[in-house]
């Protein structure tokens, strides 16, 4: 089975579990993906062998940690792409979704990060005063924490895999206080110049000294404390050291 097919299956299971929360059978998936039931059963078997999902005694399937990690990554890519194609490029909703279905398998993490940040900053520029951009609503809020929501059986005991808890492209507004962070890039064009002057350049190690609940931050750069509004903090991409 090709990896894109595997990703499609896992994504479909995740979407169902998020949407209806009822148990999913091979038959449901066959309907969702418009593929013959036999093929689906055979493919799911091999996925079970790979350790991506498990069947319970009633024939309902659920994702393992490994399967869920892959599924979440694909789903996030799907949503970033759909948001980009729909909101920024202005494509019709279903066309954007169809297109995203194809692109989500081959696009690299770097590219999706950049697109995600672009969409995010464009959203920030348009809707800064609402605090929550359409990007944030679409990408982050729709995927509940698997452990907290209890969607994944047995997940309470297993710590979530590192990859699944790291959002794609985290900005200063998602970072933790007092942890050294490396700046990866700045997406907001109009603020670039002043931030560069103050030493916020890619590769620079900074410390988030304070983040208020509205995401205004105090950032320590080159031993100086700099206060930033939320819409500016949201344009600075960082990663944990």
């Amino acid at each position: 089975m090709e990896s894109s097919e595997r990703e499609d299956y896992l994504e479909a299971v995740l979407v169902r579990s998020l949407a209806v929360q009822a148990h999913t059978s091979a038959k449901d998936l066959a309907a969702d993906l418009s593929i013959g039931e036999e093929t689906v059963s055979a493919d799911l078997k091999s996925l079970e062998e790979q350790g991506d999902l498990v069947f319970d005694e009633t024939g309902a399937l659920s994702l393992t940690v490994q399967g869920r990690t892959i599924a979440e990554r694909v789903l996030k890519k799907h949503r970033v792409l759909q948001c980009f194609l729909g909101e920024i490029l202005g494509m019709e909703d279903h066309a954007a979704s169809d297109e995203a279905c194809v692109l989500e398998h081959s696009i690299s993490d770097t590219a999706i990060n950049r697109i995600g940040n672009y969409v995010k900053s464009a959203g920030h520029r348009r809707n800064w005063h609402r605090g929550n951009t359409s990007y944030n609503r679409l990408i982050n809020n729709n995927i509940p924490n698997p452990v907290a929501s209890g969607l994944v059986p047995g997940m309470n005991k297993i710590p979530p895999a590192g990859t699944s808890s790291t959002p794609l492209g985290s900005t200063l507004t998602d970072a933790m206080e007092s942890v050294p962070l490396a700046v990866i890039g700045i997406t907001g064009g109009e603020y670039l110049h002043r931030l560069i002057d103050l030493g916020v350049i890619p590769g620079e190690v900074v410390i988030l000294k304070r983040r208020l609940h509205n995401n205004a931050v105090v950032l320590q750069v080159k031993e100086c404390d700099i206060a930033l509004s939320p819409e500016i903090a949201g344009t600075i991409l960082v990663e944990k050291m």
Partner: protein, 616 residues
């Protein structure tokens, strides 16, 4: 010979300027205190030097007025010598600007200021090594304590020379700069700026853009980003070679309290309301003493002399003017300035700005706009000037309205002298509450209808410092002496003119004319409305005029509490004083001034009429 002081914001340029020239320009502990160019002259060894205090900037390649001003002076070689002032504690960040300045090839002296604070932050700076690397003299100072500043001028004149240090840029950038310099007769720094897309020569910019695009395609970074990164990395290397880290003294970081929502915001409220209460209490206590002294030792003896009517009217007017100035305005204004100066010097204002960011976003501004608004409690004129801190025209437009509405210390005099004294201190505070609500509503409204772009806050936090008693008193004294030399004579002259007008019946005529409007719409006596007109000259003169026209400082004997309250709130709201109008005109243009003035006049009348309707 012209000497320029150049450096980042808040490194102490103005303080050093004051110590060099003996002049008194405004010095504070928040970035951006100096907005324009300050010039002073100094004689050293029988030669005259012109010293310029330039506004603080972070780099020369920006498009703000300050950056253009400094850049222009360097480019046109208007300066013969540059004193680069660097903050020793934040050396690395400060070197970034220095390297850019050094490219202009002017004779340089480096002053490492705040040498006293390096120890506290656990570092030591090797100034000799730095001097060796940069190739120009370096001296250490602690200007806040006056240490080392005496050395600046002698060192600058004897040993300043162009720096030999040079940032090694990426070789593509170097090649591009060489190519621009080959095609156009410009200096290296101008060529570098042009590569970053900055400059006046369109032809050169066009050809630079072509090269810049090529570089950007290859590096996936714009030339500006590459150039800045090169400078930052070089600064890091140099700083690394001259700074030795020692053990940082463990201490309690006040910012752990001040920049947190809780308790930071309650602390901010306590500080601001506390200042108002303390000013009211101390002010009215001093006022009581001074007014009593005037009444019993000057006014009463004068009346008992039995002078001819005209002479008596004149001398009483002079006394009442003096009394209004010294007795009412002075105690409140001076106390107020002391507290504002403490706030300015402590570095607290930047904390307040950070906390206020969210709230200010709702009225279309950002955190930094809280600084003009707090300054507005002192005097509206410098507050309006500091509106320049804001980046976009939209923000400056909104801030013009809001800052003008903030009750300045002269209006505090009215609130304190009329409402706190005669009606009650809580009623006085309620005026602040009403004004606060009106400011918020105005902001909400303006942020919706004002076109233009919105920028967020990018503000360097000033270090927290215990304000120096001497500096605070000096600064307050300088402001109050301005009041004594400019406002006091005005108060006395206008008091005399008022007395004469009253004597010859002009005031009566105007009062009769305004009578129907005054009593019907506003519900206050006609002479009180006449007094309001004098508030246009200076706000506290409205009170002076009211005292003269009412004929007694005991205002509660001639007006009811509601009338006093209404009168105070109208004079607080209505028409900015003439100096505010002038500075607003210079800063924002005619249209804004007319709008602000009309708006405040209407607001004052509407609120006054509203109170009259509610409590007839």
């Amino acid at each position: 010979m012209k000497i320029g002081l150049i450096g980042n914001p808040n490194v102490g340029k103005s303080l050093i300027f004051n110590q060099l020239t003996g002049l008194g320009v405004e010095v504070s502990n928040y970035p951006g205190t100096t907005v324009g160019l300050e010039t002073g002259h100094v004689c050293y060894q029988r030669e005259k030097f012109e010293i310029c205090d330039l506004p603080g900037i972070y780099s020369l390649d920006g498009d703000s007025d300050e950056e253009k001003l400094v850049n222009g002076m360097l480019e046109r070689h208007e300066l013969d010598l540059v004193i680069a002032i660097l903050d020793a504690v934040h050396l690395e960040r400060n070197l970034y600007l220095f390297f850019q300045v050094a490219e202009y090839g002017l004779p340089l002296l480096v002053v490492l200021n705040m040498a006293d604070e390096t120890e506290k932050s656990g570092i030591s700076v090797d100034s000799q090594e730095l001097s060796k690397i940069l190739g120009c003299p370096v001296i250490m100072t602690a200007a806040i304590h006056g240490r080392g500043t005496g050395q600046i001028l002698p060192s600058a004149l004897s040993s300043a020379c162009p720096a030999i240090v040079k940032v090694a840029y990426d070789h593509h950038i170097e090649a591009a700069v060489r190519s621009i310099m080959g095609n156009f007769p410009v200096s290296r720094p101008v060529a570098i700026l042009s590569l970053e897309g900055i400059g006046a020569d369109q032809e050169m910019l066009d050809s630079s853009v072509a090269i810049a695009n090529e570089i950007e395609n290859r590096h996936k970074m714009s030339p500006r980003q590459i150039i800045s990164a090169n400078r930052h990395h070089f600064a890091e290397q140099v700083a690394g070679r001259v700074i030795t880290d020692r053990q940082k003294k463990p201490g309690f970081d006040l910012d752990r309290l001040l920049t947190k929502g809780i308790p930071g915001i309650p602390i901010m409220a306590v500080i601001l309301i506390g200042i108002l209460l303390v000013v009211f209490t101390i002010g009215s206590w001093l006022e009581g003493i001074i007014v009593f002294f005037f009444a019993s030792y000057l006014v009463a003896p004068l009346l008992s002399l039995g002078l001819p009517p005209l002479l008596q009217q004149l001398s009483i007017s002079v006394l009442l003017g003096l009394q209004a100035g010294i007795g009412i305005a002075f105690p409140f204004i001076f106390t107020f300035y002391i507290f504002i100066s403490i706030l300015e010097d402590s570095g607290y204002l930047t904390r307040a700005a950070f906390l206020a960011d969210q709230a200010m976003h709702r009225v279309g501004l950002h955190g930094q706009a809280i600084i003009p608004m707090i300054l507005g409690f002192g005097c509206t004129v410098p507050a309006v000037m500091s509106i320049r801190l804001l980046a976009s025209r939209r923000e400056r437009f909104i801030a013009s309205f809001l800052v003008t509405m903030i009750p300045c210390s002269a209006r505090t005099v009215i609130i304190a002298g009329v409402v706190a004294t005669f009606v009650g201190i809580w009623w006085a505070l309620s005026i602040y509450l009403i004004v606060f609500i009106l400011v918020v509503l105005t902001g909400l409204f303006l942020s919706r209808i004002t076109p233009g772009e919105q920028f967020g806050m990018i503000m360097e936090m000033a270090p927290l410092r215990a304000p120096q008693v001497v500096n605070v008193v000096k600064k307050s004294w300088r402001k109050i002496s301005e009041f004594l030399t400019i406002a006091m004579p005005l108060l006395i002259i206008s008091s005399v003119i008022l007395g004469l007008l009253q004597y010859y019946g002009v005031i009566l005529a105007f009062t009769n004319f305004i009578e129907p409007f005054s009593t019907m719409v506003l519900g206050i006596p006609a002479y009180a409305t006449t007094a309001l007109m004098f508030g246009i000259l200076r706000k506290e003169m409205a009170l002076g005029a009211l005292v003269v026209l009412a004929g007694t400082p005991a205002l509660n004997t001639v007006m009811t509490n509601v009338q006093l309250y209404t009168w105070a709130i109208i004079s607080v709201l209505f028409v900015p004083c003439i100096s505010t109008i002038a500075v607003l005109y210079r800063q924002m243009g005619l249209k804004t001034v007319v709008l602000v003035t009309t708006y405040t006049v209407i607001l004052g009348i509407v609120i006054g009429a509203g109170i009259h309707l509610a409590f007839p």
